[in-house]
Amino acid sequence: MHNRQKVHTTEAQKAAAEREKEKKLQFYRQSINDVFNRRTRNEYDVLALKSSEGLLRANPDIVTLWNYRKDILLHLNPSKEIINDELYLTEKCLQVNPKSYSAWYHRNWVLDNIDSSADWNKELSLCTKYLKMDERNFHCWDYRQIVASKCQEPHENELQFTMEMIESNFSNYSAWHYRSKLFSAAGKDEESTKISELSLVESAAFTDPSDQSAWIYQRWLIGKLEPSKYIYKVSQIKNKIYLVLNKSLPNNYKIKGLGNNNWEQLDPKIWYTNVNNLDINSVEIIDETNQVIDGILMDNIRQDIFQLNISEQLRLVLNAQVDSLRQLLSMEPESKWALLTYVLLLHTLKLNNYIENCLKNIKLLKVIDTLRKNYYNDLESRYQIEYWIANNNNTDTVHLKGLGLTAFYHMHMFLFHKNIDLSDNNLSNSNLSHLKYLLMCKNLSLKNCQLINLNNFPALPSLEVLDLRENQIQETSCKELTKCESLKTIILDNNQIILQKTLHSITQFINIEIV
């Protein structure tokens, strides 16, 4: 109620209201006690059913009452009439609170468990009617999904229905979401659907770029694109062979090669096996029909590991979308969603010079959408790291210095590197656990990384030299380092005298260098 004059109530009015309230409360207590007493007496009859009806019609969200009704109905072996009354009650309750979880659930439960001749088709048309009146009630949308699957409504019809709803108002997350569900469930060739859905989204974007719902659906469509390859690299460390993947393997896929199918998982994306004396030169991934999905030669690096699986036809469509987004941005340079989608698409398609373009626009996003600055920082970090991985085949040294990284991604791809320079970034100790993959790393630089403690620093078996200069690390937090068995040298600067003393007291075997 906006803009209503508040009128001071008189004492008498107050007292009257108070009395009224008291009366109501009294009545409520009586009724609910009555219901609970019946319940403790194990009364499962029609009278018991009636006893909670009034309470629920006033407040449909007392879950306990619904549960008692369920018990009664299960005992009662109710007639069709009682079932219909029960359904009618949920209808009435939904009028009181259209977003009552328990009322929606109860309706579904009754039809599912009590009503042997449940008319799901009628429910579906009720949902349609309801959604025409309350188009964005996600409870009803959720319920509709259940109902549609019960009466095995063809996906086409449901897609058609969501389309009608979107055409009357496309700002409807539930409708878009249901479409995504329907497409996923259909599992059919998605290429053409994806293309037509993309053009739908484009139309929404140009009609109202500030409406998020369609943009989010578009992110889902683009996000479904998968990398084309699995394997990044296979190599040996001591007596084990390690296989580094870009995405985790589906259950029906197997690793084959090196005369050994006995691979174990260290991490969803890292597998290893013990070295046999056989000649080892390649590893393959096969599916259940022994079809080769991916394969790589020993010690080779797959540089285009982040290339996505995009058909020529879809690529054309996405390229056209990049062009139209450019036009949209020329008309609405500050449209956050247009800009973000532009960045995502550039990165998806990896056109020439995409990285400069992405970084430039992420910078802009941080300015126009300051509330999500940290999200953009992390996105930028991911893009920087992926770009480095895709453009360097140096197996010894990682150079991610001064890139403003705020988060680590794909660190498992640095499993085999010996020298890793992460200096001059904006990290925090929460990122440090990601360093656990650096099994071969001997020299690690975290110089000038804004670190204030070393909590979560992992036990790195090969680490010999750790550079911690220009951080503000507190004394209490360096016990972690003693777990690194090979650590010989820690480099500090003159400002870290206290830290130096602490380190000395903890580890006599580590040489501390002051620079």
């Binding site: 109501k24 409520y28 009724s31 009034g54 009357s168 108002n169 496309f170 009609t207 008309m331």
Partner: protein
């Protein structure tokens, strides 16, 4: 001749047109004694809706003039110092009547059977119920072929408007209907389609956000441009400087400065701003605002259309007037107005003298000397009965089309179908209105030729049947003749005119009607050119405030249940459900 009408009133209203009826209701609502007369046996005057038969009768009267016998200039009822001013004959105000059938009187050959049935139903009016369903059945059996007899049999299903108009969903009439609680007397339908005529074809104009999203008529960039422009107009405030420098220019010039595509220019200028090439920029912006602010209240277009025709609306106000004690007498003409000095004292009607403080007159009932030099020319009207919609779509549409004509006012076209109860199933009604330049036939010719099939239909050959047609035309009917080679096909798809009526009537909205009248006489214009009722409401308000400057104009009328009547309330059982929540 004596009758038992009381002889003294505070307000006498003559003519039941829109403006007159609103004034009558407003006066009655604040407790004034109101007498409301109409010389016709129907409500509405030039704002009426007719069945087909009533229309024929009206046309006869227009052509022949009604015999007005009583011309008593010096009646004993006129006192000393008073002067009697004779009231003229309204039917001289409708002219250039052209009526034409495009179908045979009766269907030949196969029609014999049906016409036999038709006569049967006509002969037995007692079985009117059965007769109607039977005639509907005939209609179904053979609904692609039409004859005059068939139309006449179904004549009662028509509500043919003399003054077809739409209501802006946020216009003054809708607000008035709501605030005064008169809305309960009427039912409305949303206009669901705005069409325009561009490059020789009909197109659906995207006017709401949902339309812009769904339309395939405009490209992506155009969608953004259109939305930007519309947002700009909605948010426009006089102190902003978006339109600086265009104050003296036309809307067209402004739109050109925005580098819009020709397509968008057309949509905005002719359909959304409801303007033409010479409309001043700020007028156009105001119209655009009005259009857009009415969007989404009741539907996807800004307009409402009264069910059963526009003739319902004056009657709603009359009803309120009567509820508050207004006295009604149809088929009762005023013969003359009695004037003393510069004041109207009374009217003479049917030999009685009826005194009044204020006299409200429709222009059609005004004495010629009150009217002065009011122009006779004004509107060119066309009413067409068609066998299908001008642009067929999946569902029955209610359409507004402003048909642009270079260098002239556009032709306003409203098409309504059977679901609004203005015509029988299987037919459509098309109304055309424009400013009179020559005569109705000539003025409406461009739109008639572009949209309608004007050849005589012999009643034997059936053109493409409507059912298959809807599958041939694209959805929404957005570009019926988009392909060049389908022109011939479009020719066949055009609706066939079954019956056409053209006429001209005066348009006095631009004329100051208070010039030649006594100070307590108030003249009401007839229907104006605009598509809406803004003018009528404004005029009614201004007449009312001249009569009763300190009174509220049509305050909310109480609902029946809000009135406590001093009768025994135990007339029937309470109408309420027995299963209220227990707590209450």
């Amino acid at each position: 001749m004596e009758d038992d009408l009381p002889s003294k009133y505070e307000v006498i209203v003559i003519g039941t047109g829109m403006t007159e009826s609103i004034v009558a209701a407003a006066a009655s609502r604040i407790g004034k004694r109101v007498l409301h007369l109409d010389r016709n046996d129907y409500y509405g005057g030039m704002w009426a809706s007719f069945t087909f038969e009533a229309l024929q009768k009206w046309l006869d009267e227009c052509r022949n003039g009604k015999t007005s016998d009583s011309l008593k200039s010096s009646s004993p009822l006129v006192q000393d110092g008073e002067k009697s001013v004779n009231i003229g004959n309204q039917f001289s105000t409708v002219f250039n009547i052209e009526e034409k059938w495009f179908i045979p009187e009766k269907l030949p050959s196969i029609g014999n059977l049906q016409s036999a049935k038709n006569t049967q139903t006509e002969d037995s009016p007692k079985e009117i119920k059965d007769g109607q369903t039977e005639s509907e059945e005939i209609l179904k059996q053979n609904d692609k072929l039409w004859c005059q007899a068939k139309i006449k049999t179904l004549g009662r299903k028509f509500n043919l408007d003399l003054a077809p108009k739409l209501l802006f969903s946020r216009g003054t009439l809708v607000e008035l209907l709501i605030s005064s609680n008169i809305s309960r007397y009427a039912e409305f339908r949303c206009v669901n389609r705005i069409l325009t005529w561009q490059s020789d074809k009909l197109e659906t104009v995207p006017c709401s956000r949902a339309d812009v999203f769904a339309t395939k008529n405009v490209g992506l960039i155009e969608k953004r441009q259109l939305m930007q422009l519309l947002t700009l107009c909605v948010e426009y405030k006089p102190e902003g400087d978006e339109f600086k420098g265009f104050e003296d220019k036309t809307l067209k010039e402004y739109l050109e400065s925005k580098n819009l595509t020709e397509n968008l220019m057309h949509y905005v200028l002719y359909a959304i701003a409801m303007s033409n090439d010479t409309t001043p920029c700020m007028v156009g912006v105001e119209r655009t605002q009005r259009f857009l602010s009415s969007l989404g209240r009741y539907g996807n277009t800004p307009f409402l259309w009264p069910m059963y025709g526009t003739g319902e609306l004056p009657q709603c106000f009359c009803r309120l007037c009567a509820v508050f004690g207004g006295v009604y007498h149809l088929k009762r003409a005023a013969d003359s107005v009695i004037v003393a000095d510069t004041e109207c004292k009374a009217i003479l009607s049917d030999g009685s003298r009826l005194d009044c403080d204020h006299l409200v007159l429709g222009v059609a009932d005004a004495p010629p000397e009150f009217l002065g030099s009011v122009p006779k020319a004004g509107l060119s009207r066309g009413i067409f009965i068609l066998d299908r919609s001008i642009s067929i779509s999946d569902k029955e549409s209610l359409t507004l089309l402003q048909f642009p004509i270079k260098g002239k006012e556009p032709i306003t076209i409203i098409e309504a179908g059977p679901s609004t109860h203005v015509c029988p199933p299987g037919l459509y009604l098309l109304h055309m209105t424009t400013k009179q330049i020559e005569n109705a036939v000539q003025d409406l010719k461009p739109a008639v030729e572009a949209l309608l099939h004007t050849e005589y239909a012999d009643g034997i050959t059936s053109r493409i049947d409507t059912d298959t047609q809807s599958t041939q035309t694209t959805k929404e009917g957005d570009s019926v003749a988009s392909k060049g080679d389908s022109n011939t096909q479009y020719g066949l798809l055009k609706p066939q005119i079954l019956y056409a009526l053209y006429f001209n009537c005066p348009e006095t909205s631009g004329y100051d009607l208070s010039q030649n009248v006594p100070s307590n006489v108030h003249l009401c214009s007839g229907p104006d050119l605009e598509v809406d009722y803004e003018f009528a409401v404004k005029q009614a308000k201004s007449i009312f405030s001249k009569m009763y400057p300190d009174s509220e104009f049509l305050p909310r009328a109480p609902d029946p249940e809000e009135l406590s009547l001093e009768v025994d309330e135990a007339a029937g059982p309470p109408f309420q459900s027995s299963e209220e929540p227990k707590e209450e």
